[in-house]
């Protein structure tokens, strides 16, 4: 995770739900030399933390905020320069070592409620050659499914997932990241149930 406590800067992006910060983190990590430090949820709002030099964090924040805004209305972004060690500890969440970083595209489908997500996930994996990576629950009913496969398959699957949610009043957003930045999935997801024993 590079930078030691007290040096450099931490960038924070906060949105409602989790799809927005995954897309935001991807854009931020691509825009400048920053590393993903961790993420946190406080009952519906989630925040991603990334670190780097002050100028890199500023550039990453702008890109990340813009990407998040494509998916959600309310985005709060901030940088902390030379953060206190306490902030580092608060921000840091170890990535899942057992999780194999998927090589293909990443698809995100977010809605309120769990039953609808079960239906949509089942429909998605049946419709195209995609694999479910994880389902993230961040409270306030928000549930986000992450799938992977080649770009075409993910596009097809997300279309099918959205179709399964057509008419469902609590649909929130969907997003396709054709080439997710390495480490993105490991930073957000748990190891698959099988690997957890």
């Amino acid at each position: 995770m590079g930078t030691a406590g007290g040096e450099g800067a931490i960038g924070l992006i906060e949105v409602e739900g989790v799809a927005g910060i995954i897309a935001g983190a991807d854009a931020a990590l691509k825009a400048a030399t920053v590393s993903l430090v961790g993420w946190d949820s406080i009952g519906g709002f989630t925040t991603v933390f990334f670190a780097g030099s002050v100028s890199d964090v500023q550039a990453a924040l702008r890109a990340g905020e813009a990407a998040a805004r494509q998916l959600v209305e309310r985005v709060v972004a901030a940088a902390i320069t030379r953060p206190d060690p306490v902030c580092w500890r608060y921000a840091t969440r170890a990535p899942q070592p057992d999780l194999v970083e998927p090589e293909g595209a990443l698809g995100l489908l977010e809605a309120r409620g769990y039953a609808i997500q079960l239906e949509a996930c089942d429909a998605m994996v049946k419709a195209a050659a995609v694999r479910l990576i994880d389902v993230l629950t961040v409270h306030n009913r928000v549930v986000c499914a992450l799938i992977t496969g080649d770009v075409g398959a993910v596009q097809e699957a997300i279309a099918v997932g959205r179709q399964a949610m057509a008419g469902y009043e609590h649909f929130l957003c969907s997003c396709i990241i054709p080439q997710p930045v390495p480490g993105l999935v490991r930073g957000f997801c748990r190891a698959p149930a099988a690997a957890q024993g």
């Binding site: 009952g43 989630t46 972004a77 902390i80 409620g113 079960l118 996930c121 389902v135 149930a193």
Partner: protein, 385 residues
């Protein structure tokens, strides 16, 4: 799982509704519970597995059973679910058979812990029933379950519902004369503490963590009461239980109700006289105090916001502004998150001023509170159970 070729899924708002639906599903067709999942705000889902026709029958029966509850979010059957995918979904992570079901089951579900505690106490006093346990469901909803013979459970739930309504909002109630044994998967965790005795129990429930801490400090200073536990709930609620003589508990709760409005909303400040030993064991079993910490008599500063960005910015600003020590962060749901710092009164005051100003630039600041001389050992007694 080879012979189980379909999933029946029912999602409701509220656990009593889900229990009613699940019991009907299990009785209507040969299906078994294969998972449950809560996603906050009181939305809970049960997943049952069985043959396609059985799952369809079960889901229909579950929906019918909800008629009196009216809390259905979604009901659905997935034929031939993709098993590898479904095993990875959160509902499959654990299906604890959390207890044994004997006799009838009564469920009381309220908005907030204070009405639930009062209701549960009325239930065990009204009839010969066993308090099985209680749990947060999400969005400030919580439930308590009792077991016993049918007549006793019916009497208990009626009495509990009446008593709870006097303190707060009753969300739902349910009596199942002969619950299916599979329903054990939805029961709250069993009570582990043995019977306890106290002349009175004080219950302070607030929206926000800071308000409860401020209230606890006021209570401990106002009268000779002992703090049992502080529970961080869901839907923004935190709740503190204190025990002592009736006079002392009454004085403490009055002091807390006076103190809290400056820092947050009081949802309930209630004195329960002569609580049943089951009620005490279930809700207010004391948590063993932690080991003494250095500087535990130092002033305490608390900031609560509705944004992680605002809170972390405040933390950074506070720690840089004055010689204060970071103590911890606390999330109570409903977008609320708080941090505590310690130091000299002057340092904490300076830090809070700077931190609150910084936080306000990024999000809503809900509470800023300084306790110059926290009750000795308060920190150790704030056992977050």
């Amino acid at each position: 799982m080879d012979t189980q070729t379909a999933f029946g899924i029912v999602e409701t708002r509220g656990m009593a509704a889900l229990m009613a639906a699940t019991d009907a599903m299990l009785k209507a067709a040969p299906v078994s519970v294969c998972g449950r999942h809560g996603v906050g705000s009181g939305w809970v889902t049960v997943v049952v597995a069985g043959a396609v026709a059985a799952a369809e029958t079960a889901v229909r029966a579950g929906q019918d059973a909800l008629a009196g509850h009216g809390q259905l979010i979604r009901a659905h059957v997935i034929a031939r679910p993709e098993q590898a995918t479904m095993d990875r979904m959160p509902h499959a992570a654990l299906v604890p058979a959390q207890g044994e079901l004997r006799g009838a089951l009564g469920v009381l579900e309220t908005q907030g812990v204070a009405p639930l505690t009062v209701g549960a106490d009325a239930m065990v006093k009204a009839a010969h029933v066993k308090l099985v346990g209680w749990a947060f469901i999400g969005g400030a909803l919580c439930q308590a379950c009792v077991a016993g013979d049918v007549a006793a459970v019916q009497t208990a739930v009626l009495a509990g519902s009446d008593a709870a309504a006097g303190v707060g909002t009753v969300h739902d109630q349910l009596v199942l004369a002969q619950p299916d044994s599979g329903l054990a998967a939805l029961l709250p965790p069993a009570v582990v503490a043995g019977p306890l005795v106290a002349p009175a129990l004080g219950i302070l429930e607030t929206t926000g963590y800071v308000a409860t801490v401020a209230g606890v400090d006021a209570m401990l200073k106002a009268a000779e009461v002992e703090i049992s536990r502080l529970s961080i709930g869901s839907g923004g609620r935190s709740v503190a239980f204190v025990r002592g003589a009736l006079d002392a508990v009454t004085a403490a709760i009055r002091a807390a109700a006076d103190r809290v409005p400056a820092t947050g909303k009081v949802d309930a400040a209630h004195v329960l006289s002569r609580p049943d030993s089951q009620t005490l064991a279930c809700f207010a079993a004391p948590v063993a105090p932690a080991a003494p910490k250095e500087g535990e008599s130092a002033a305490m500063g608390l900031v609560e916001t509705r944004s992680t960005v605002a809170l972390v910015k405040a933390m950074d600003a506070m720690l840089k502004a004055a010689p204060v020590r970071y103590e911890g962060s606390y999330k109570v749901g409903y977008f609320l998150t708080a941090s505590a710092i310690r130091g000299s009164v002057g340092a904490v005051r300076t830090a809070l001023d700077v931190g609150a100003a910084e936080a306000a630039r990024y999000g809503e600041v809900v509470a800023v509170h300084l306790i110059p001389r926290p009750y000795p050992e308060m920190e150790r007694r704030l056992s977050h159970g």
